[in-house]
Symmetry: none
Subunit: 250 residues, 2 copies
Amino acid sequence: MDASSKPSASLDLKNLAIILVSPRNPLNIGAVARAMSNFGCHDLRLVKVHPPSLEDARSAVGPSADLIATAKEFATVAEAIADCIYVAGTVAPFHRPPSETYASLPAAAPSIRMLLSQQRVALLFGPEKTGLSNDALSHCQQILSIPTTPTLASMNLGQAAAVCLYELSRTHENSLEQKIPAAAPAADLDRITAVLLEALIAADYTAIETASAQQELRQLIRRLHLSAPDARTLTGMLRKIIYRLRLPAG
Amino acid sequence: MDASSKPSASLDLKNLAIILVSPRNPLNIGAVARAMSNFGCHDLRLVKVHPPSLEDARSAVGPSADLIATAKEFATVAEAIADCIYVAGTVAPFHRPPSETYASLPAAAPSIRMLLSQQRVALLFGPEKTGLSNDALSHCQQILSIPTTPTLASMNLGQAAAVCLYELSRTHENSLEQKIPAAAPAADLDRITAVLLEALIAADYTAIETASAQQELRQLIRRLHLSAPDARTLTGMLRKIIYRLRLPAG
C-alpha cells in the first residue's frame, strides 16, 4: 500500500439519476436514498411507485428525508429518462439477457464514469421481486449486473444501489480525459424510433408489428451512439419518406 | 490483460470472517447476512451482541436464515479474531484515526484479496451509532473506510458490508473490458449508404442531390458504429421502404 495515497474526494455524481421502477418496500426506498446521500447523488426518480410505499418512505425521518421528499414521480420509464443521454439498467446475473449490451458492473463502470463527467446518466432498478421488465430494459444502452454467487444471486435493492454508487464514484488517478461527442438524449432516441416505426408500418414491413420486434428496434437505435445532430438529420429524412409513402400516386 | 489468464469464477470468500461488534438493529444483522450470501461468504461472528437483537434477526425468515442461525457469538474482539491472520477494521471517513494503517477501501482491497487467497482474514464492523472503539481498532492491521461524501459520510451497516464484500470479491474476470460487437465492414457501410440514398431520392428528398450532401450522408453512416447484424437489419428495412415507394398506388 502506498502510504502517501490520500483518500481522494470521490467522483461527483451530480449527473447521475437513480430511477426505481415500481419499488414496493418503503425501507428499500429509504435505503437507496441513504446510499445516494453517502455518495453525493441527489436525483431520485420513481416510476409507477405504489402510493402507500412512497408515503411510508416519506414519513420516515432520517438523513435522506429531503432527498425522498423531492423525488420526482413518473408514469413511464420513457418519461423518467427523457433528459438522460445514457441509460443503464440493472439485472440479477441469472437474468442475464442474450444481449450485446450486457456487462458486469466492474466492466461497465469505466465508460459510465467517463459519461458521468459530462452528461446526465440514468441508472435503473426494477421491482424487488421481478426486476426490470424486457420493455424497461429495451430503453437501456447498457444492461449490467453485480457479480454475485449463483446460489443467491439477487441482491437487496438498497444494497445493490449502494454497490453501484460506490463503483461509479470510484476515482482513477489516471482517468482519461477523452472527449465524447454530445450524445442524443433519450427523448430524441424515442422520437427517431417512433418515426422509423411509422415509416416501416407505412411501407407494410409486417415483421415490425410484434412487441418484441419493436423492443428490438428500440435497442438497435440505442446501439447506434447517435449524436443529437445526427439524430435530427435522420429523423428529418424519415419524415420525408413517410410523407412520400402516404402521398397518393400522381 | 493477459488473454491467456484463466478466468476464475468469482473470488472465493470462504476465508473471510465478517465480525459485527455490538450490532443493535436486527434488520442490519439480516442485511449483512444477505450480502454475505450474495458474495459467497459464510462466516458471521458477533461480538457482544444484544440478545434481543440476535433473537429478532434469527426469527426472520429469508435466504440467509441459516447463516444467522450458525453465527458464532463472542464476548470480546480478541476471542472473535483468534484464528485470523489479518484483521481489517472499518470506520467512517470522518473517524479516520491518525494512523499509518489507514487506507480507503479501493486502496486496501488488493492486498486483502491477496491474503484472502491463502489465509483467514477478519473484517470488523462497529456498532451502528458509534463505530469501532479505539480498543477494537487496536486489534487491526488495517483500518479502512469507504470513500463517501463529508456531508453524509456514515453508511448503513448492511450497505457498508455489501460494498466491502463486492470490493473484496472483485476479480480479474469481473473487470475485463466490455466486449465490443464486430463492426460492419466497409462494404456493408457502402451498401447501407447506397440504399438510404436510393430511398431518399425515391422520396423526393431533394437536399440529398448534391455531392457534398452525399459525402455528409456517408460520414453520418460511419459515425453510427454499426455492427454487421444491425447494418443488415437496417438495409433490409430500407429495401422494403424503397420497394413500397416505387409501388404504384393501388
